[in-house]
Symmetry: C2
Subunit: 277 residues, 2 copies
């Protein structure tokens, strides 16, 4: 496995591979890798000739007061995990942007609800860094986790609208044995918080069971789930169309429940299909 | 010469060429082609394996009340000119964007002065369409005219910031025998307006001569040039740093004079180096 830090060196090497007809697969990450990231690499590996993972904690997607400065890091563990999952190139730039960076990619609509409401600059940071990473890495396919369901929808829309020649694959969410969705931010949780973090997936599974039992009214589903949540503050708990992310009043077709909540100081997100899409 | 209208058909063909190591050259236009456009094709032709010209009157870069509906068109003449200049593929999409297009590429700073002041959404339209066209056409090099000096600077910045693997070439401005910069919009001018349009280049050449004669003060240069202009309304007349587009007070190094003015209902732009960069 090669490890590179210079963006332009990565781009030159990847352009050369493309010009020789190779398929570059790409998993962009912020590091502190876990089994969830590994599953994305495993999804890409058989579909490409050259597998690239990037690790970059992107300042543009953090708001004021968020956890940019304390975001967990483990470069040696990350490299070992990448090696074990057949990664060819690990791209770890200390800085990613050009001096005087002035360009923003914005997706309207999809970015306005859910996480976009409490993190108003977050998705512009995501789409801008993904566009730049795609420019550097030149992937023919890229994998994003379904854990950030809204991010996946936003990236798909950007790729479609800008005609970026990249196939976007969503990787299923991976959970720990206690049901908690894997997240680098779980490292922040105290034992008590970890126990309460289980209530997110519990609330979502409760909604799923209620729908299976015939409940169709979203207000009723939400009320039941909110009563179950042991969070310190609920950012949102919504039932939306899986593609458009439009809020639903009734569950009559494909629907996804999404939750964001603070447990202690840690903001966690999770989501689950209510009726499969 | 092949003529295609389907964006995805163009993209599939160009991705195939890239995967075979070919260099695609690209000249994006809004049609009604003249010798200025031809000079851009001539610049690209020896530098690429496959030369693509696009013709698309991009609604996103027109503001309310501008000339989108009456922008001149001549598809047959355009095709003949492209054929005569060695174009391989003429891309003429009736529509370019996806249904529900929601993505905007914005360059801060460079877009705020000059044309950006009176056309506040213009450059977002330019960068968005150029990003999408680059996604479809997959060029390794693209040529833009220096006639829209600000547009060239904005596109260069976007390409740098998003690490788009496209070399941007600026093609020198081409003038008619009377000195007027070639523009598709010159077709709007009455004989009287055409005579007065000559005052734009006259004003710029007057500034250039004054600088050659030792004048360094931008206020003095502007006053002299404004007195010379026979326009109905001057949008701006500025002396700026050629790269950053920052307004200059004195001409002590590379400097570019830029003018935008209405002659009748027609908005014309022109620019000239005062001290070569």
């Amino acid at each position: 496995m090669q490890i590179l830090s210079d963006p332009r060196q990565v781009q030159a090497a990847m352009l050369d591979r493309r010009a020789r007809g190779q398929v570059v697969g790409f998993v962009p990450t912020m590091g502190f890798l876990h089994r969830g990231h590994a599953s994305l690499m495993d999804l890409a590996r058989p579909r490409c000739d050259h597998l690239v993972v990037s690790i970059y904690v992107n300042p543009l997607q953090f708001g004021p007061g968020e956890d940019l400065d304390r975001y967990p890091r483990d470069p040696e563990g990350d490299a070992a995990l990448c090696r074990a999952h057949g990664v060819d190139l690990l791209f770890m730039p200390p800085d990613l942007y050009e001096a005087g960076h002035a360009t923003t990619v914005h997706v309207a609509g999809l970015t306005e609800g859910l996480c976009g409401r409490s993190r108003p600059t977050h998705f512009d940071g995501v789409t801008t860094v993904v566009a730049r990473l795609f420019g550097l890495v030149q992937p023919a396919l890229a994998v994003f986790g379904e854990k950030d369901w809204q991010q996946l929808a936003v990236v798909r829309r950007m790729v479609r609208d800008l005609a970026l020649p990249v196939e976007i694959l969503g990787g299923p969410l991976v959970r720990d044995e206690d049901g908690v969705a894997l997240s680098s931010r779980n490292a922040y949780l105290s034992p008590d918080e970890r126990a309460r973090a289980r209530s997110l997936v519990g609330a979502l599974r409760g909604m799923q069971a209620a729908v299976a039992g015939g409940e169709r009214d979203v207000d009723a589903l939400r009320a039941q789930a909110l009563a179950h949540l042991e969070a310190d503050r609920v950012d949102y708990l919504e039932v939306v169309d899986p593609d458009s992310l439009a809020p639903l009043q009734r569950v009559d077709g494909p629907a996804r429940a999404l939750v964001a909540a603070f447990v202690g100081r840690t903001r966690l997100i999770d989501n689950l299909a209510l009726l499969p899409g």
